[in-house]
Symmetry: C2
Subunit: 119 residues, 2 copies
DNA sequence: TGGAGGCTTGACGGTAGTGTCAAGGTCGAG
DNA sequence: CTCGACCTTGACACTACCGTCAAGCCTCCA
């Protein structure tokens, strides 16, 4: 699949897809004429990337996170201690984010509920 | 409290605190000489701001989110329908973020657990 | 054969958040 | 009075993410 079709199927712009490749998040093959050649699996992968970026996760973290996903990519052949430590840190950061956001989301919920009650 | 002391107590740089003021997240009084004058409550508020920024929430959303917090600020006197709708949207976005991040955090957890088992 | 599209890379622009530096005002200690 | 520490605003710079435009190549179709 070429970049235009992938863009259409994912909702990402070609510019975004090229940027994701540049950041090492996707690695399309090349056709003989130089055109990028994406396989089916990358569609889901791009969806994950877009969701994570939307959620405020920078590409550098997405890059270490994606190999952990079931679908989309096989696990790396070699896992160094550094990589494991980085993943532990990532887990911690994600947990902190989730807690912080959930807490503030609940505060918004309470605020809205009270406002409705008082309205 | 002046900006230096607030910086020391929150861990934010003076530059950050001035930026937060510029974005309307905090509104210090001014001493006669022009120095910013922060009250105690702003310490907690700045902590919230830093956590939310760390979690990838832009200042524009933090601005509409902060008045929902119990501690730190009283609720606005007038809530327009637009503000309520914006808060509902914010709640939706925060929920989506939490779900996305929790899902990926769990994937990292499973990945690490399996790796350990296999190690 | 000549467009019309789609693709390539490269570059410039724009916003968000922040570091950093410059030029100057304020204040207390010596 | 002066020095040093702190404050002010303003500007320039950098990273991240992405829009957009330019110049050129590829492919298909009339």
């Amino acid at each position: 699949m070429r970049i235009g079709q992938l863009a259409e199927r994912t909702g990402a712009s070609p510019r975004q897809l090229r940027y994701y490749e540049q950041q090492g998040l996707i690695s399309p093959l090349r056709q003989v004429n130089g055109y990028r050649d994406f396989d089916e699996a990358v569609v889901e992968r791009v969806h994950s990337i877009m969701q994570l970026l939307e959620a405020g996760v920078p590409t550098r973290l997405i890059k270490v996170l994606l190999p952990c996903m079931r679908d989309g990519q096989r696990r790396p052949d070699f896992l160094t201690g550094d990589m494991l430590r980085e993943l532990e840190q990532l887990h911690g950061r994600l947990s902190a984010r989730v807690d912080c956001l959930a807490e503030h989301r609940d505060a918004v919920r309470r605020f809205l509920d009270e406002t409705e009650t008082w309205g």
